[in-house]
Structure formats: structure tokens, C-alpha cells
């Protein structure tokens, strides 16, 4: 079945049912093309195990880190809510009744991590404060109508969950017109309905109040249009006595934004309290601490890899989620490409696995650079034994792995120690964060660095760079370029390279040329590209096509003379057209009406 057609763009392929049922297990793709004797099955299992552990560790970490924030948020909600409850006639309270309690949650610019925070926040609030927690995103609420509709549908959705599906009527409501009045009456309804019944188990915590408040989370406060926000706040403050609302603003930038978005008349209707989430840098430190600076996980990153991951974090997105993704990719690549990663597991298990190593794997060990260095240092008869006797080799590996393990447990201990010493020194000569110190130590002998000076000699034996350790390849992932390639790609530079220097990809001697030049036998698109670099804003197609023809004709082999020159010219023109349309597709040029038969350049680089 073809996948090209002039009448449609989607092609569905459904294999017949029987075939489909036997879906290929994931590990088969891992094992494909791998030597059976290199323990690929075991390696994949180990990968899965370690990744699961790391993942749950980070999740747990996130929870712990959020705990403080959530606790204070919940406390705030409870406190402000008790205001609603006291039906006091006191004047101050009356004023307060008009104010919507609002928590401004400063979350930082790492928007990709926010979702996770909000998800656990919603959960925490539902367990502790009120079943009615709704979150809205700006993209769903272009105007107040959608805002209210979305709010209503989510609220009724909440209560459908709670009140054993009596949905049919509520679904109809979805379509109907929504207003604050209808929301208030819905709220009245729902609280009256539930009140007489005894609270169910799920309610126990929140049932301390007769009518629980409605918490509305605006996930990305900055993106909401001012009008929508203002209208909603004014309206809901009018209905506050019958619709007890509490707002939570998710803010990525700074709290000033509230006052920039809302005029004084509106912001005075809010009773705002600020909450600051943990800074993402601290978060990163904790994640590193728990996942890498520990012997709990056998897997380690080399200095370059760690540097790339932290750089992506610091320079691109501040996203913990992306950092973890990078870590996952490193882990996968390590187990995928390093046959000996089968020994990258906890020590007792690794020792057990050594006994089952195949001949092939023993060869792999002998080929490790670190192991070869180690062998060279041994006495000659031991060298022979290591290189010929499998049993002897395996015993030696046992002790080497033990040493590696001991090296790590001491390493991290001493590293933390050194960090404690130096992190409070003025100007932070060895960095303020432990990860900086760690990077330095991974890279070189720390005592060689100018900043260090022999102050802490005792550490010398323990902070050796990992490359000095035999078998370090088993646990260290060092292919930094793979990570950079797959996580932080630069497609435009790749395009430029391919167009400007085809020899980089096509290793043909005819394409070799000195810097900045291009041989005339290069692919058509490269020649057209090179020529267009010589033009300013607009390019005359006639000139361009003739210049192209000049180059291509010169390059053409003259034995192709059997076709007439007219036909040859036509073909060259066709090639030019193809090259130009391809450059258009790539976004280097576009048609323009400014001048007849001209195209406009869209880029300025590459000269």
C-alpha cells in the first residue's frame, strides 16, 4: 500500500488481528544485533531495575521537597477558610468577607516541572482540605465564557467522582450557559445534599467544615488575559458569601506580575499571601545527591556527561524533568552499548554474575583500557595468568570490583567532607555547589588545581579520578557526545554543514576542498546554496540559474555528449528548479512579489 496520494495525507495500516496480538517484547529490540554471549538479556533487566529505582527515588524526593510548601499552603487555606465559617457580624470580618483568599505560588521558570507539582498539590488538597479542587490553564480560557464553562464542568466532574455517578444531568449542564449564579446554586445544592448524610470515609479529614471551600488553581497566571482575570475576580468576590472560593496563582516569574496584570481596584479584592517553592537549583542538588553522589546506585556519570546535563539545565530550561530524562538516556545508552555493564549492579549480585561471564565477556574485560593499564603494572607471571586463565581472571575481577566499590564509598564520603570544608570559604574557590566540586574531582586530581593547594592532604588517596580505577568503564557512562546529539541537537548547524561542506558526510575524495570552498561536483543543492550566500536580500532567479548552469556545466563530464546541448541545458535548468524548491522547503528563501522573478533570502549566516 502506497503512502503517497494526491487526495489524502493519512494512511492507516492495521495488520490483521492475529498477528497484532503477538506484540514484540521490548527487550527483543534491545537484544537485536547483539551477541547472545554478552548477557544482553540480563543487561536489559538490570537497566529496567535501576531505572525503576531511580524513578521512584526521584518521585519520592519530589514529594518530600514539596511537603513543606504544601503544608504551609494547606495551613493558609484552612486559616482563611475559617474566616468564611465565622459568621461574625464584626466589621473587620465583613470587609474580609469581600476579599478572596489567594495564594501566590512562585514556582520558577522551569514550567515543565510545574505540572508534576500541581498534580501532587491537587492530590494533597483533596485529601486535606476540600474535594473541590479545580485547575485551569490559560490556553483553555480565551474568554470569561470558556473560563466559567471549564470551571463548571471540572467542578461537576469532581462531584461526579464523589457522588457515585449521577452524571447524565450534569453532562447536559456542560452545554448550558454558565454563570456565577448557576455555580452558586450548584454549590448550595451539593452542600445541602451532602450535609445530612454522614460524611463518608473519604471525607473525614475535610468534613471538619460543613461546607468545604472551592479551590481554583490557575496554573499559569501570567498567560491569562487581564480582562478574563479581572472579570472573574470581580464577579466571584460578589458571590463569595455563597460560593466560598480560594484562588491559587501559579507564577513562573515574580509576584510583581499580579499587580501588573490587575489594577488596584481588582487586586484589593484579593487577600494575597506569597509562597515560594524550592528553587530548582536546590532541587537539582538534592537529586544529584540522592542519585549520583551515593553508592546506592552503581551507575555513574563521567565528568563530561555530568557537565553536559548540568549545562543543559543551567543554560536552557532549569528543568528537573529534562535532567532526569538525560539521566535515563545515559543509563539506557550505557547498558545498550557497554557489554560489561552487566556488572553494573550491587556488589553481591555483581560478584555472583562474574562467575557466569562468558569467554567473550572475559575478552571484553581484557580489552578495557583501564584493565590493560592494571595488567601492565603486574608481575609478568601474573600478567600471563590474567590474560590466559579465565578462573584467575574472574577472581581478580572480584577483588577489583570490591575495590571499585570501596573506592566509591570513600570517594563520596570524602567529597562531602571536602565540600563542607570549602563551601563556606570566601569566594568559594572550589565552587559553592557540591556538583561543581564533583565535576572538578572527576576531571582531574583535585590537589593539582591551583585553588586547592595541599590543604587537605589526607583526602588525596580517596579523591582519585575514576579513570585511575581498573574496571571503571563498567559503571561509568562517558559518551558525552551521544547525549549532546540526542538531547541538545542543533538542526540548523547540521543543515549548514551538509550544504557547505558535503565532504563531512560523503567521504568522496572529489568533494574534498579547503575551508570555505566547494567543489563544482558537489550535490546541486549545495552549489545553489553556496551561490545564494553571495547575494543580499533579494536574489534574481535568472542570474542565479545562470550562475548555477556555469558551475554545473563545468563539472559535467564531457563524455555525456550524446545528448544535445539543448537537452542538457534543459536538464540543468530542471536541476536548478529542484535545488531552488528544496531551499525553499528548508526555509532559506521564499518567493517575493517585491521584484519580478526574485526570491528573498531568509538567513544571513554562512558567509
Amino acid at each position: 500500500m502506497a503512502t503517497s496520494s494526491v487526495s489524502k495525507g493519512c494512511f492507516v495500516f492495521k495488520p490483521n488481528f492475529k498477528k497484532r496480538k503477538i506484540s514484540v517484547p521490548v527487550e527483543d529490540y534491545f537484544n537485536k544485533g547483539k551477541n547472545e554471549s554478552e548477557d544482553s538479556k540480563l543487561r536489559f533487566e538490570t537497566y529496567q531495575l535501576i531505572w525503576q529505582q531511580m524513578k521512584s527515588e526521584t518521585e519520592q524526593l519530589q514529594e518530600e521537597l514539596n511537603k513543606n510548601l504544601f503544608d504551609s499552603l494547606i495551613e493558609f487555606l484552612q486559616k482563611s477558610y475559617s474566616g468564611f465559617q465565622k459568621n461574625s457580624k464584626d466589621w473587620g470580618c465583613q470587609i474580609k468577607l469581600r476579599e478572596i483568599p489567594t495564594a501566590a505560588l512562585i514556582l520558577g521558570v522551569n514550567v515543565t516541572d510545574h505540572d508534576l507539582t500541581f498534580r501532587s498539590l491537587t492530590e494533597a488538597l483533596q485529601n486535606n482540605v476540600t474535594p473541590y479542587v479545580v485547575s485551569l490553564q490559560a490556553k483553555d480560557c480565551p474568554d470569561i465564557k470558556h473560563f466559567l464553562q471549564k470551571l463548571a464542568s471540572q467542578l461537576t466532574g469532581c462531584c461526579v467522582d464523589e457522588e457515585s455517578k449521577e452524571g447524565s444531568t450534569q453532562v447536559a449542564q456542560k452545554k448550558t450557559h454558565c454563570s456565577m449564579d448557576s455555580l452558586s446554586s450548584w454549590y448550595m445544592n451539593i452542600t445541602q445534599k451532602t450535609d445530612p448524610k454522614m460524611p463518608r470515609k473519604k471525607r473525614t479529614s475535610s468534613s471538619q467544615w460543613q461546607s468545604p471551600p472551592v479551590v481554583l488553581i490557575l496554573k499559569d497566571m501570567e498567560s491569562f488575559t487581564t480582562k478574563v482575570l479581572q472579570d472573574f475576580i470581580i464577579m466571584s468576590s460578589q458571590h463569595l458569601h455563597e460560593f466560598p472560593l480560594i484562588l491559587i496563582f501559579g507564577i513562573a516569574t515574580s509576584p510583581v506580575i499580579i499587580h501588573r496584570l490587575l489594577p488596584h481596584a481588582v487586586s484589593s479584592l484579593l487577600c494575597i499571601e506569597l509562597f515560594q517553592s524550592l528553587s530548582c537549583k536546590d532541587h537539582l542538588t538534592t537529586v544529584l545527591d540522592k542519585l549520583l553522589l551515593t553508592t546506592q546506585f552503581p551507575f555513574k556519570l563521567s565528568e563530561k556527561v555530568l557537565q553536559i546535563l548540568t549545562n543543559i539545565f543551567l543554560y536552557h530550561d532549569f528543568s528537573i524533568q529534562n535532567f532526569i530524562k538525560g539521566l535515563q538516556l545515559s543509563l539506557l545508552e550505557h547498558f545498550y552499548s557497554q557489554p560489561l555493564s552487566v556488572l553494573c549492579c550491587n556488589l553481591p549480585e555483581a560478584k555472583r554474575r562474574i562467575n557466569f561471564l562468558s569467554d567473550n565477556q572475559c575478552e571484553n574485560i581484557r580489552r578495557l583500557p583501564s584493565f590493560r593499564r592494571y595488567v601492565e603494572k603486574q608481575a609478568s607471571e601474573k600478567q600471563v595468568a590474567l590474560l590466559t586463565d579465565e578462573r584467575f581472571l574472574k577472581e581478580e575481577i572480584q577483588s577489583l570490583l570490591e575495590n571499585l566499590h570501596a573506592y566509591h564509598s570513600n570517594y563520596f564520603l570524602v567529597l562531602r567532607c571536602l565540600h563542607q570544608f570549602t563551601s563556606s570559604l570566601p569566594k568559594y574557590p572550589l565552587g559553592r555547589q557540591i556538583r561543581e566540586l564533583y565535576c572538578t574531582c572527576l576531571e582531574k586530581n583535585i590537589w593539582d588545581s591551583e585553588e586547592y593547594v595541599s590543604a587537605l592532604q589526607l583526602l588525596r588517596d580517596y579523591l582519585l579520578p575514576p579513570e585511575t580505577q581498573p574496571l571503571h568503564e563498567v559503571v561509568y557512562f562517558s559518551a558525552a557526545h551521544t547525549l549532546r546529539e540526542h538531547l541538545n541537537a542543533a538542526p540548523r548547524i547540521a543543515l549548514h554543514t551538509a550544504l557547505n561542506n558535503p565532504y563531512y558526510y560523503l567521504k568522496n575524495e572529489a568533494l574534498k576542498s579547503e575551508e570555505g570552498c566547494i567543489p563544482n561536483v558537489a550535490p546541486d543543492i549545495c552549489i545553489a546554496y553556496k551561490l545564494h550566500l553571495e547575494c543580499s536580500r533579494l536574489i534574481n532567479l535568472v542570474d542565479w540559474s545562470e550562475a548555477f548552469a556555469t558551475v554545473v556545466t563545468a563539472a559535467e563530464k564531457m563524455d555525456a555528449n550524446f545528448i544535445t546541448s539543448e537537452e542538457r541545458n534543459e536538464i540543468i535548468h530542471a536541476r536548478f528548479i529542484r535545488a531552488v524548491s528544496e531551499l525553499e522547503l528548508l526555509g532559506f528563501i521564499k518567493p517575493t512579489k517585491q521584484k519580478t522573478d526574485h526570491v528573498a533570502r531568509l538567513t544571513w549566516g554562512g558567509c
Binding site: A406, N488, I518, L541, E584, G587
Partner: protein, 578 residues
């Protein structure tokens, strides 16, 4: 073996942590031992050193942020390690730079330089093509090298003024103010923006001023006139700032004024183009095959990574369609998958979602909105974890899919655990489609797959530059639809066509007003009430044969959204048949 430690508990280090203050006291107090004294001295020295060094004089956070230099270094490292990764080959400063002034003859100059580039076959080519050799020495400033190219192809110049009739038919338009000699205006007939008009007058003026018989000379002359002074200026100040403003200040475009029409070359249609290109023998096929083989070895790894929750995006020069197609036929045969041609001009997120709901999930109902449909799909896939779907999108960055909404929806689909997305991008700014939020939905792994394959399919739909819009598709659909209509309806439509063709040269024509149209139809006995006409128009509109538009005066105007060439062809065909 450096470390003599063994894994026995007693030999392991034990460190007790002491509070910061205690440590500081310990260091700074006199009571420390000899070793500590030494340590203290050195620490002090160290601090002094630091104070002296200006680059360490940063704010407290300064240390935290690595220097840009370091960063670039780290990212640019290991160039040799990865052969395929073009990203590392060139630094960013080459690719991202300012616009600067270029002279129009530069391209031709480069062309002749490239033409003479010493190659193995160069002597041969020079022998057979003496013109090129002659060109080179002449290629000094002040002369448009394109002239010489023209000389070389002198056999063509005699045809210069006789544009192919097919082209003339479309392009040449009677105009009161343009003299018959100037062909420039012709192709501008459709541009009703002022720039073109203004420009056109310029050219006329130039021709008058120069009064040189050879048109080519006349055209290149203004360029020559301006170059020397500009060049001098630039020689004096090779200042980047100067250049920048120079490039940006002048709105005047200094390019030669020749048009394709003067060249013998007609716009080719898609079919001819294909035929011509099929005669080109591919070069470097061995190297290209090798490249492709490298990528094919990754197929299983891609599958693994897709199944583990990543999505894969392919980038790099050359069509990736064949590669993805091979991927599909090698590893996806036994799984449900949808191939989406992003470059297909009629593609939309709606159609993608429709093929998922209707063909993959066999759902026959309709949805109120795209978002509803998305929700439904998401729920379906979350409920049934045994469901698995591979999406293969060629050109995720195409015109039709690059919008924010489309990307958001595709991103949401791809973030599902049991939907796997494999996509290709080509546009150089494609990554700008994705903000952090979308990137995290997509969870991309990037793979560079430079193939150098021609974008045959991808460019075949778009009405690309220099390719004649054959109009065969709209023409055949016109004929088909009209054939199914009543004779009266056909008459009505023909009336509209004729009126539109009569007005094709009127730039302010916005359509046939409904009232006038009704009047004419009545006079031709085609309708008897405006209700029947309206019913007929609705049918036309449903077939997308006409478009209606309310004018500023509130009157309804009718327009056929097909170019006049096609309409002419259609009328001719109709007459032939009847």
C-alpha cells in the same frame, strides 16, 4: 593499584561531621596542630591570590554559572568521536550572523571561480568549453558576469523576446501605460502592491536613460554605476557596524533586472520536470548508500527507545521519507501504525484525529470539537493499555501542521504511554515551534539523518517557484463536478466564469454581485426566482466551486477561486465537447 583499601568495615573511613562554625574556629584559632597551621597559612595565601585575580571578582553567584566559554567548549568537544554529527563541525558564529551588503555580480563571479576549480577533469572541460576560460579574466569588477554567461549561451539570445506562447497567454496583459517593449510589467500583473509598480517605473526609466540597444547591458549598467563608490567606502572602513547599517538602510534592491520571461526557459510543469530529472544520473551513490546503511542500523534502537517512552525526531539535509518508509516496512509491519504526510497540502490535525478515531479505533460517532475528540482518544488509550499505535509523521514542521494548536495536540497525543511518535523535520527554524512545555510533551530524542535525497514528494505538492501550476487537478475536478449538474446549473456557472474572465485584468474586481448575477441569470432564462439561484449557489459552495464575500457596501459578491488560465482551459474544453 593505588588504593589499598579493602571492603572490610574496619578499614572503611569514618567521618564525623562538625558544624561550620566549629570548623572555622578550628582553622582560625591558634590551638590547631602543626598541620592545621600549615593549612591555615595556605588558605590565607589562597584567598589573597583570589582577590588579586580580577576574573574571580564575581558576585556570590558568579561561581555557580559556568562561563560561556566553558559551556561552548564542553558542547563542542568530541568532534572526532561522532562522525555523523554535523552539529559540531561549524561553530555557531558562522551560521548566525548579520546581514551584510552583497554585490550583485558576486554570485556570477563565484560561479566562474567554482567552474574553474581544479578538478581531475578540469583540463578536459576547459578544452571543450573555452568560453568559461575566457570568462575568468574578464571577471573584474564593474562587469556583470552574467553577461558573459549570456554570451556563451548566445544561441539563446535570439529567442529572448519570444517567450513561449503558453507563458505569454497567461502573463502578457494589455496595459495602457506600459510600452510594448518592456516585458517587465507582464509578470507583475498579479502583484497589486505598490512596490512592484514603483519598481516597474524605475526600470523603464533606466532603459530610457541608458538607451543601449542590448537589453542585457542596459540592465547591468545601473549596478556598475553604483559599485565603485560603495566599494571604496567599504575598503576604507571594514567596520562591522558600518556594514550592518549599510545593509539595512537602503530599501533599494541592487540586483539585476532580468526576468525569466526573456530567457527561453518556460516554467516547466511538474511532469516535465520529473521526466527531465529522471535523466540525471545520481552522483555519489556509494557514499549515499553508506550513509543510509548507517541509519538503518539504528532501526532497532529507535524501536527500543520509542517503546521506553521517548519519541524520535529526525533532522538533517535530505528527504527522510524513504528512510522512514524503510523503517516502517522493516519493523512496523506487525503493529498498527498511521503514516501522516505533513507535506500534503490538505492535511490537518482534524484529519489525523479522524483517521485515529475512525480507522484505528473504529469509532463512527462525531465530535463537537477537536479538543473533545482528543480527550476521547486520550481516554481510550489510557483505558486500554494493550492498545498501541505508532505515528509516523513526515514533515512535522510543514505549513499545515506547524501551528501552535496543531503542535499542542500532536504533542499531547505523543505524550501518551502507548502512542509512539516518529517524525521528521526539515525547516531550518523548525525547533522554534516548540516551547519548553511542548518539548516536554514530545520528549524528543534527536537523531541526525542527513541523506541528501531529493525532496521529490515533499516539493511536488507545493506550487513551488519556477514550476508551472499545471492546474490539472482543479481542472479535472471542475469538469467532474459540473458534469453531474443540470444543464441550467452548468449555464449559471459558465455565466460566472465568463464574467470573471472578462474582469480578470481589473485589479479592483472583487466578484460578481449577487443582484447583478441574478439579473443576468434571469435574462438567460436560467432561473426564475432568486431562491432557486440561492439553492444553486449553495450547491456550488458545497463543492468549493465558488466563494462568497460581503463587500464594504454589504452586498454579496461571488468569486470562483480558480486561476483564469484554468478557467480558460475549462471553457475551451467545454466548447470542444459540445
Amino acid at each position: 593499584m593505588m588504593s589499598k583499601l579493602e571492603l572490610k568495615e574496619d578499614k572503611m573511613l569514618e567521618v564525623q561531621f562538625v558544624g561550620d562554625d566549629d570548623v572555622l574556629n578550628h582553622i582560625l584559632d591558634r590551638e590547631g596542630g602543626a598541620k592545621l597551621k600549615k593549612e591555615r597559612a595556605q588558605l590565607l595565601v589562597n584567598t589573597k591570590k583570589i582577590i588579586k585575580k580580577p576574573e574571580y571578582d564575581l558576585e556570590e553567584d558568579g561561581q555557580e554559572v559556568l562561563k560561556d566559554q566553558n559551556y561552548v567548549e564542553v558542547l563542542g568537544r568530541d568532534i572526532q568521536e561522532s562522525l555523523k554529527n554535523g552539529s559540531a563541525a561549524d561553530g555557531g558564529n558562522k551560521v548566525y550572523s548579520f546581514q551584510n551588503r552583497k554585490h550583485s555580480e558576486k554570485m556570477a563571479k563565484l560561479a566562474s571561480e567554482l567552474a574553474k576549480t581544479p578538478r581531475k577533469n578540469v583540463s578536459l572541460s576547459l578544452k571543450n568549453d573555452p568560453e568559461i576560460m575566457i570568462n575568468i579574466p574578464q571577471c573584474s569588477k564593474g562587469h556583470s558576469a552574467s553577461d558573459k554567461v549570456q554570451l556563451k549561451n548566445s544561441d539563446k539570445s535570439e529567442f529572448l523576446s519570444t517567450a513561449p506562447s503558453g507563458l505569454r497567454k497567461r502573463l502578457i496583459v494589455p496595459r495602457s501605460h506600459s510600452d510594448s517593449e518592456s516585458e517587465y510589467s507582464a509578470s507583475n500583473s498579479e502583484d497589486d502592491d505598490g512596490v512592484a509598480q514603483e519598481y516597474e517605473e524605475d526600470t523603464d526609466e533606466v532603459i530610457l536613460n541608458q538607451k543601449i540597444p542590448s537589453q542585457n547591458r542596459a540592465i547591468s549598467a545601473p549596478v556598475c554605476k553604483e559599485t565603485p563608490s560603495k566599494k571604496m567606502k567599504r575598503d576604507k572602513t571594514s567596520d562591522l557596524v558600518e556594514e550592518y547599517f549599510e545593509a539595512h538602510s537602503s530599501s533599494k534592491v541592487l540586483t539585476s533586472d532580468r526576468t525569466l520571461q526573456k530567457l527561453k526557459r518556460a516554467k516547466l510543469d511538474q511532469q516535465t520536470l520529473r521526466n527531465l530529472l529522471s535523466k540525471v544520473s545520481p552522483s555519489f551513490s556509494a557514499e549515499l548508500k553508506q550513509l543510509n546503511q548507517q541509519y538503518e542500523q539504528l532501526f532497532h534502537k529507535w524501536m527500543l527507545q520509542l517503546r521506553l517512552g521517548f519519541n524520535i525526531v529526525l533532522y538533517g539535509l535530505g528527504s527522510k521519507r524513504d528512510l522512514l518508509e524503510r523503517f516502517r516496512t522493516t519493523v512496523l509491519q506487525d503493529s498498527i501504525h498511521v503514516v501522516i504526510n505533513g507535506f500534503f497540502p490538505g492535511i490537518s490535525v482534524k484529519s489525523i484525529l479522524n483517521s485515529i478515531t475512525e480507522e484505528v479505533l473504529d469509532h463512527m460517532g462525531t465530535f463537537r470539537s477537536v479538543l473533545d475528540q482528543l480527550d476521547w482518544i486520550v481516554n481510550k488509550f489510557k483505558e486500554d493499555s494493550s492498545l498501541e499505535l505508532f505515528l509516523l509523521i513526515h514533515n512535522l514542521d510543514s505549513q499545515m501542521l506547524r501551528g501552535d494548536k496543531s503542535q499542542q495536540i500532536i504533542g499531547q497525543l505523543s505524550s501518551l504511554r502507548n502512542i509512539y511518535l516518529m517524525a521528521s523535520i526539515d525547516h531550518l527554524n523548525a525547533p522554534l515551534m516548540w516551547d519548553h512545555a511542548k518539548q516536554s510533551l514530545y520528549n524528543w530524542l534527536w537523531y541526525e539523518t542527513t541523506t541528501y535525497s531529493p525532496y521529490t514528494e515533499e516539493t511536488s505538492y507545493e506550487n513551488s517557484l519556477l514550476v508551472k501550476q499545471s492546474g490539472s487537478l482543479p481542472l479535472s475536478s471542475l469538469t467532474h463536478v459540473l458534469r453531474s449538474l443540470t444543464p441550467n446549473a452548468r449555464g449559471i456557472f459558465r455565466l460566472l466564469i465568463k464574467y470573471q474572465l472578462d474582469n480578470q485584468d481589473n485589479p479592483s474586481y472583487i466578484g460578481f454581485s449577487f443582484q447583478d448575477f441574478y439579473q443576468q441569470c434571469r435574462e438567460a432564462f436560467l432561473v426564475n426566482s432568486d431562491l432557486t439561484l440561492r439553492a444553486q449557489l449553495t450547491e456550488f459552495r458545497d463543492h468549493k466551486l465558488i466563494r462568497t464575500k460581503k463587500g464594504t457596501d454589504g452586498v454579496e459578491y461571488l468569486l470562483i477561486p480558480v486561476d483564469s488560465g484554468t478557467l480558460n482551459d475549462f471553457l475551451e474544453k467545454e466548447e470542444e465537447e459540445s
